[in-house]
């Protein structure tokens, strides 16, 4: 660029500087580069996932069994299919999310497989087989989502449908004959005798869509009007309506489904989305106040909440440790992680199966025992990257709906990891939530891969602002 008419030397000087600034603002608009980076990372992800499985076999069986590896290879092919689908229909989608999730999913399958070996489970009794099958289904649904939903903004139109769907999904486990109570929590529904699903996992996506759609239209009235008390602007009572409804819904989940983690997750999701939409700290004050209120009430009214908190604070008290539903699991998990130490016992070489639910709720301590602190930090690092990519997509999103949805979806993953990891490491009371992508469980895998598909779709709409 030349400035033909720049009259003075001073001005030409500035123009030259501007030329330079233009030159640095190279927009990486090269989708092929993004997708190639993704493929490169995906290859490493396959090596990691396959390597974990081989190490499990070497450690626990002292030989390599090809059958599970071939099944895992099929999943690898499906991730490749998702990658190719992205090349065709979402060329500018984020390149980091898919490989990171592939590694997490692969590590999860390897660890579940390892627990199966320890427990001698084979065929469809083995959780790892079911996990592989569910991963396959989840990947197919993710591919379908990416291909079918070309413009995610249409989702905003269905926000009240999404709300209805979320409420139905939440209430479903309470329907007599359909609901299943496992370990005290009524969050499952049973279809036939084999299949049990956790509809609440899917409800979180529907809720995120509803919140994003609702806040997109309501943010003005939520952020501008209201009375000022102590320097913080509080919203009008009628604007408080939806947040109170959501709070009441979470409390209902807490009381009737006896699931602390899920209600915490939903409420946290709404709180963060409303904060992001309005940028007002008063929502945080109100929300945390409601959490404290609900928490205190639940502590005094609900026996299982009291037991959970007791097992958290007095975990090493022998009477709590030996009690039914006491702290045995928590303490075994902590012992397992301590046994693993810095570098871990090595995959297949520890004894993570001693802990109850070592392949679902307690998969993080299982991995901590066999991969050590070093491995756990790498896994947490991967989660951090995943969540930060989601929030980044929200930050760059071209419109309010995209921004809110991306932040909401990414935040559910982050909050879920925090609640689970915080629970097993005794930072917060233990609650039964699944670790995204790692823990055994079909509904959770399905929901989280759907989130991945949506995030990829959202990131594709951030045109020309991909990473270098």
């Amino acid at each position: 660029m030349t400035d033909r008419t720049a009259p003075t030397a001073l001005q030409t000087g500035i123009v030259q500087l501007r030329d330079v600034t233009e030159a640095i603002k190279v927009r990486i608009r090269n989708p092929a580069k993004l997708r190639n980076l993704e493929l490169f990372l995906l290859v490493i992800a396959w090596v990691l996932a396959g390597g974990a499985m081989v190490l499990v076999q070497l450690g626990a069986l002292q030989r390599v069994d090809m059958m599970p590896l071939q099944l895992a290879g099929l999943l690898g092919l499906l991730t490749l299919a998702l990658h190719i689908a992205l090349r065709v229909v979402a060329r500018e989608a984020d390149a980091i999310i898919l490989p990171v999730v592939t590694v997490l999913n692969g590590l999860g399958i390897a660890m579940i497989y390892r627990i199966d070996i320890a427990e001698g489970a084979t065929g469809w009794d083995a959780a790892s087989m079911r996990q592989i099958a569910w991963t396959g289904i989840a990947l197919l649904i993710a591919i379908a989502t990416i291909v079918v939903i070309r413009n995610h903004r249409v989702l905003a139109r269905y926000r009240f449908l999404a709300m209805a769907a979320a409420i139905i999904l939440l209430v479903l486990p309470l329907v007599p004959g359909l609901g299943r109570t496992i370990n005290g929590a009524t969050v499952w529904i049973g279809l036939g005798s084999v299949l049990s699903l956790q509809p609440g996992e899917l409800a979180k996506i529907a809720l995120a869509i509803f919140f994003a759609g609702y806040l997109m239209t309501a943010r003005d009235s939520l952020s501008v009007v209201g009375r000022k008390v102590l320097g913080i602007r509080f919203p009008r009572v009628r604007d408080l309506g939806p947040i109170l409804i959501v709070w009441a819904m979470c409390l209902l989940v807490l009381v009737f489904q006896r699931d602390l983690g899920t209600s915490l997750l939903y409420f946290g999701l709404f709180l963060v989305m409303i904060y992001v939409a309005t940028g007002r700290r008063s929502w945080m004050v109100i929300g945390l106040g409601l959490v404290a209120l609900g928490g205190i009430a639940a502590y005094f009214a609900l026996g299982y909440v009291q037991r959970r908190i007791g097992a958290w604070i007095h975990a090493f008290d022998p009477s709590v440790y030996d009690a039914q539903g006491g702290s045995y699991q928590i303490v075994q998990g902590v012992f397992g992680m301590a046994h693993g130490g810095l570098l871990g016992t090595g995959l297949g070489l520890g004894r993570p199966d001693i802990t109850p639910y070592a392949n679902s709720d307690y998969i993080i301590p299982s991995l901590g025992e066999e991969l050590g602190l070093v491995g756990i930090f790498a896994i947490l690092g991967l989660y951090l990257i995943l969540v930060s990519r989601g929030i980044r997509i929200g930050f760059q999103g071209p419109d309010d709906f995209t921004k809110l949805l991306a932040v909401g979806l990414a935040f559910t993953i982050g909050l879920q990891v925090f609640i689970v990891v915080g629970g097993v490491t005794r930072l917060i009371p233990l609650t039964g939530l699944t670790t995204p992508f790692l823990a055994a469980g079909g509904s959770s895998l399905l929901a989280n891969w759907l989130i991945v598909a949506l995030l990829l779709r959202l990131s594709d709409s951030v045109r020309g602002r991909g990473i270098a």
Partner: protein, 178 residues
């Protein structure tokens, strides 16, 4: 397989896991630290930042590293400057957004088909249009309800917009930049 090989493979696995994390972080470096700059570019970026801060007054100061100078934008931005190539939103809900100005011009409005979509209650569906007329950009108000303002004045006919002069539509203000 000997124990030693197994230990080496184990450590190797952890190393690969971390390598993966670091490769990802490395590929995100421009996201985390911004693009890599040469010293000259750094000076340029600084001067740009100074300009951005002063942009509200429409008389920004351009400070070059070793030869600090202050020139009013308008002096250089009048008919003398090159054609604007992008739009920067300086106030309103989408502050900071940058949009390339296509050769064919840009429509502004609330409808989703608009090139620059501004969603507030003061913006009409098809509010205004920026088109190229000979060697300058011209803004036309498309009979909007609440009007289009160039340099604070409501326009009634096609008005040329120079680089750096502000255009306000609803609660959104933007500038043309090169």
């Amino acid at each position: 397989m000997s124990e030693l090989t197994l230990i080496i493979i184990r450590i190797g696995f952890l190393a690969l896991l971390w390598l993966f994390v670091f490769i990802v972080l490395y590929s995100l470096r421009s996201d985390l630290f911004g693009p890599k700059l040469t010293p000259l570019q750094r000076v340029a970026v600084q001067s740009q930042r100074t300009r951005a801060e002063a942009a509200a007054q429409a008389a920004p100061a351009a400070a070059g590293g070793d030869a600090p100078t202050t020139v009013t934008e308008r002096a250089s931005a009048g008919s003398a400057s090159g054609l604007a190539r992008r739009i920067v939103i300086t106030s309103g809900p989408r502050t900071g957004t940058e949009i390339e100005l296509p050769e064919t011009g840009l429509t502004i409005g609330r409808s989703s088909s608009a090139g620059l979509q501004i969603k507030d209650d003061y913006t009409s569906n098809s509010h205004a249009k920026i088109v190229r007329w000979r060697d300058e950009w011209v803004v036309q108000d498309l009979d909007s309800t609440n009007g289009t303002f160039v340099e604070g004045k409501r326009i009634t006919q096609s008005t040329p917009v120079r680089v750096g002069s502000s255009v306000r539509i609803g609660t959104t203000t933007f500038e043309l930049r090169r």
